[in-house]
Amino acid sequence: MNGASMRFVMTLAARELRASWRRLLVFFACIAIGVSAIVALRSVVQNVGVALTADARSMFGADLIISSNNPITGVVRQEIAGERTAGRVLDAIDAIELTTMARSMRGPDAGARVVELRAVDAGYPMYGTLVLREGTYRHDLLRDHGALVGPDLLAQLGLDVGDVIGVGDARFEVRGVVASEPGRSVGAFSFGPRVVIDRADLASTGLLSFGSRVSYEVLLRVPETHLDPLADSLRASFVTEYVRVRTYRRAEDRLGENLSRAENYLSLVGLVILALGGIGISSVVRVFVQEKIRSVAILKCLGATTRQVLAAYLTQASVLAAAGCVVGVLIAAGVLAAVPALTAAAPVQVAAMARLEYGLTVSAVAQGVAVGLLVALLFALVPLLQVRDVKPSLLLRHEITPREGIDWTRWSAAAAVAAALVAVATWQAGSVEIALIVCGGLVALTIVLHGAGLALVRAVQPLARARSFALRHAVLQVARPGSQAGIVLLSVGLGVFFILGVRALQGNLLADISLQIDEDAPDLFLLDVQGDQRDGLAAFVDTRNGEEPPPAAIPVLRARVVGVNGRELNLDGYQDVRGRGSLAREYTVTYREHLEDNETLLDGRWWTGGDRSVAEVSIEESLRERYRIHLGDEMRFDLFGRIISARVTSVREVEWRDFRSGGFMFVFSPGTFDDAPHGFIATARGPADPEARAVLISGLSARYPNVSVIDVQEALRLARDVMATVTRGVTVVGALVLLSGTLILVGAVSMTKFRRVYEAAVLKTLGASTRLIGMTLLLEYTVLGAIAGTIGAAGAVVLSWAIATWGLELPWTPAPGLSVAGVLLTTLLVAVVGVLASLEVLRHKPLDTLRAE
C-alpha cells in the first residue's frame, strides 16, 4: 500500500469511526472489562509477589532453618558447632514454636483461645524486623514473662496491653501488639493468633511435656556462597535425624512458582471474559458489515480496492479496541486503588493483603493490552472478510451473489483465530494443556448454551400464535433471523450460570459441613491430653456439657516408619525409607479394639482378642497403592527411640471427609504400646449456648493448661468466612460476565435500532399506539430474559451437581429457590435494560422515519 492509498484508508477509517463509534463502543466496553480483569489480577498478584519476595530473607527470618518436633541435641548441635568453627555458619539462635492455649486472667471464666506460641532468644529476628503497633521491638520487652501478641487475640479475649494472659502454668504480661513478623507470610494457614515470649520463660509453662505439638528450630546466618552447599551437606548428615533443613532461597523459589501459577490462572478469568467480548464483537461486526454493504459497494464503484476498504474497517476496529484497552487499564488502576479497603474486612488470611501497596505493573498492563487488542482484532476479522464479497454491481441490481464453493480465506482466518486464541491462552496460563482445556471448555460451553438457547427460542414459538398482538410480535422478534438473541442469550446466560453455579455449590458445601456438625458429632477436640488427666478431664467436661455424652479419648502417638520387610518393598533403615518420599514423614498413630464408623475393612482380618504376642497393624488403602505394602509384611516403627515391629494384618479404607472419629493411616492392635508413655485426643460435644461453651473452654484451659482446645464451631465459622470470600470472588467474575452480557444486549439493541425504528413507524402508520409498541418491546425482552435466566439456572444446577457428585463427592441437594430467584432477576434485568435501550424506538415520529427511508 503506497502513501496515498494509506492516507485514504486512514481518512476513511476516521470518518467511519465518527459515524459509528457510539454504536460500536458498547462492544469494546467488553474488551475494557476483560482487559481490566487481566491487568488488575496480574498486578495484584505481582504486587503481592514483590512484597513477599523482595526481601525473601527477612520474610524467612534466617538464611537457613533447622527444625524438628524433638529437642535439637547431640549430632545436630555438634554439626552446627563444627560448621561455626569452620566459618560456614556465622550465627545461630534457637526458637521454639507450639500450638497451645492462652487464657485471659481477668476472671475465672474470662475466655481462652488456641494460639501459636513462639519462644525466642535475644538476636531474634535474624533478618527483617518484628513490627509492633506501637514502639519498636527489643528483646527486653519479653524479659521476665513479657509477651507480644497478635491484635486478633486482644480482640477475641477483650484484653488490652498491660493485661495478663495465662499460658500453661505461667502468666505473661502483654507488653505490645505484633503488627507483622518475619517468617509469617500472607495467606499462610495458622491455628490462631501469635504470642511471642522469651525462650527462657518457656520452661515455666510446663508445656514442653511429652507429646506436645512443639517445633524446635535453630536459625542460622550463613554466608551467601556457603548456603546451598551447607544445606546439602546438613541434609546428608542429618539423614537419620528427625530434622528438616530449609533455606530462604528454596522458600523463595516455591513461593515464586505458586505466585506465577496463581497469576496465570487468574488471568485466564480475564481471558474468558475477553473471549466472550470477542464473540460479542464478532456478532456486532457482522451486523455492522450488513449495514455497510451499500457504502462498500459505492466505495468500490468509485475506485476503492477491497484491500483498502478492509484495511479501513480493520483500522477502525483497532482504534476502538485500543480505546477499550485504555479504559480497561484505567478501570484496573481504580480497582487496585480500592484493594486495601476491600481486603481489610476479609478473613485473617486475606486481611494481610490490605497492608501491601498496590500499583499497576508494566508487564501486567502490557499483557492485558496485547491480549485485548489481539482478541478484538481476531474476532472482528472473520465477519469483516465479508466486505470482499460485496460487488459494486449491487448498486444497479439489488442482489448479492453468494460466493461459490468454499471460502478458503474465511475458513483459514477462522482457523487462525482459533489457533491464536489457544496461543494467547497458552501464553496467559503458561501451559498448553490448561489453554486447551479452557478453550475447549469455552467452545463446548458456548455450543451447549447456544444450542439450549435456540431450542428454547423454538420452544416459545407456539406463543407466536397467541391472541395478544404484543406477545405475538414479541415472540416473532426473538425468533427472527439475525435477531441477536443468540449472542445475548449466550453472554447473559453464561454470567447467570457462573453466579448461580458457585452459589449453589457454596450452599451444598455448607449444608454438608453443618450436617456433620448438627448430628451427634463432637465439636470440641482436646489435644495433648496426658494419660493421668484422662479421667479428670472426662468428668470435668461431662458435668459441664449438659445432656451431651461424656468425651471419648483416642490414644495418639507419633511414629516414623524405619523399615519394611515385605513381598514387594524392602527397606532396611530410615535412610531407605527417606528414598520413598512421604513415607518417611512422622505419622500420628493409634491403637484400638474396633473399626470406627468411617472405616471399611478391604482386606485381611481385624484382630479380635486372640494372640497378642505379635503386634499387628492395619494400614490405610492408599499406603498399599502408593508404596506396595501388603498383608503379611513386617513393618518397623520408631516411637521416640523405641523400635516396634508389627505385622500388617488388614487394609482399611478411611472416609476422610467424616472427621468425627479421626483418621489414621496406621492403627495398631491394643497392647502394642501398653508400656510406652503416650497422650490422647479427647473428642466431646460442647454446649450449644456460646456463653456456656466459652465458660467450658476457659475452665478447661485453666485446669488443664497443657491441653489445647480446638473448637470445631469456630473452625467452621472460619471455613464459612473463607468460603464466602471465595464465593464473592467467583461472583465478581460472574458479575463481570453478566455485565458484558448486559453491554452486549445494549449493543445488540442499538445495532438493530434502525430496523426497529422503521418497523415501529410502519406499525404506527397502520394504527398501533406507542403503548402497544412499548408493550411489545417489554414482552420481547421479558421472553429473552426468561430464556437467558433458564439457561443459566439450568447450567448452574448441572454444574453444582457435577462438581458435588464427582469433584467433592458430596450428597447434592437442589436449591430451587436460588434457581427461581436467578431466573426472575435475570428476566427483570434483561427486560429493564432492553426497554431502556429501546426508548428511542418509541420516541420517533413515524412520518420522519418513513420520509428518511
Binding site: 470518518r15 459505492i298 475506485g303 454491481s393 448498486l395 444497479l396
Partner: protein, 234 residues
C-alpha cells in the same frame, strides 16, 4: 472510445439460464452522447454495469481505449473506474455516514489527490451547493443529493460519464434541472456520456439511441443528433 464486441450476459435464474443481454456490438466514440432506452427489466442497467466493469460479460470483450477491461481483476477495475468513469445513479448512492463534501472528495482521495477537499468545494459550488457541504445525505433533498452525486462523478475529471436513470427518482421539475446540469457538464467538458432512461423525450436529446427489448438491441441515430457536435457510425 468504448468498444463492445459480441458482449452478452446470461445469469442463472431459478436453476435455469436466463439471457439478460443478447450478443451486442457497439462503439461509442469520444465525446458522444448515447441514450440507452428500454422498459424495466430490458437489460439497460446490466449493459451499463458491463460498460463500467461492475460486472463481467458472459461472452465478448469490452475495450476502454486500448484496455480490454474483461481481462482485468477486481482491483485493476476499481482503479480504472476511479480514474476514467463518473457515475450517477437513480438512487444517488451517497455514503450516508459522510458529509456532502466528503462524498465528493472520496474518489480524489482514493486517487491520492492532495487537493481533494478544496476541489470538492469548488465542484459543489459548480452544482450550486456551495453552502451545503457539511450536510449529511439524510439532510438533503433528493435533487440536492443527486447534485452531490454529479459533483462526485466529476471529481477525477473522468472522460466518461455513466448515468443510470438519474432523474427517475425525482419530480419532473427537479429532474429537468438535473438533466440540464448533466448536459452542461457534457458540453463544457466534452465528456462521453451514456444515459440510461425509459423516457423517450430525454433520449431524443442524445446523439444516438440504443433501444433494448428483452435483451435485444437496436441502434438508431437521431435527427436531434444533428444539433450536437459529431455523428459517428458504428
Amino acid at each position: 472510445m468504448i468498444e463492445l464486441r459480441d458482449v452478452s450476459k446470461t445469469v442463472t435464474s431459478g436453476g435455469r439460464p436466463l439471457t439478460i443481454l443478447h450478443p451486442l456490438d457497439l462503439v461509442i466514440a469520444r465525446g458522444q452522447f448515447l441514450a440507452v432506452l428500454g422498459a424495466s427489466g430490458s437489460g439497460k442497467s446490466t449493459l451499463l454495469g458491463l460498460m463500467a466493469g461492475l460486472d463481467a460479460p458472459t461472452t465478448g470483450s469490452i475495450r476502454f481505449d486500448d484496455t480490454d477491461i474483461t481481462t482485468l481483476d477486481e482491483d485493476a477495475l476499481a482503479r480504472l473506474r476511479g480514474a476514467t468513469i463518473g457515475f450517477v445513479f437513480q438512487f444517488f448512492h451517497l455514503v450516508p455516514s459522510l458529509t456532502a463534501l466528503e462524498n465528493v472528495s472520496v474518489p480524489m482521495e482514493i486517487a491520492g489527490r492532495r487537493d481533494a477537499l478544496s476541489r470538492a468545494e469548488s465542484l459543489l459550488a459548480e452544482v450550486g451547493l456551495a453552502s451545503r457541504g457539511h450536510h449529511y445525505p439524510s439532510q438533503l433533498s433528493g435533487g440536492e443529493q443527486q447534485r452531490v452525486a454529479i459533483a462526485r462523478a466529476l471529481a477525477n475529471d473522468p472522460p466518461v460519464l455513466l448515468a443510470d436513470e438519474p432523474t427517475g427518482n425525482l419530480d419532473s421539475r427537479t429532474g429537468a434541472h438535473i438533466l440540464d446540469l448533466l448536459l452542461e457538464v457534457r458540453r463544457t467538458r466534452g465528456t462521453t456520456f451514456v444515459l440510461v432512461t425509459h423516457d423517450a423525450e430525454l433520449a431524443a436529446l442524445a446523439d444516438r439511441r440504443l433501444i433494448l427489448r428483452d435483451g435485444h438491441a437496436t441502434l438508431e441515430s437521431s435527427t436531434a443528433a444533428a444539433r450536437t457536435s459529431r455523428v459517428v457510425s458504428v
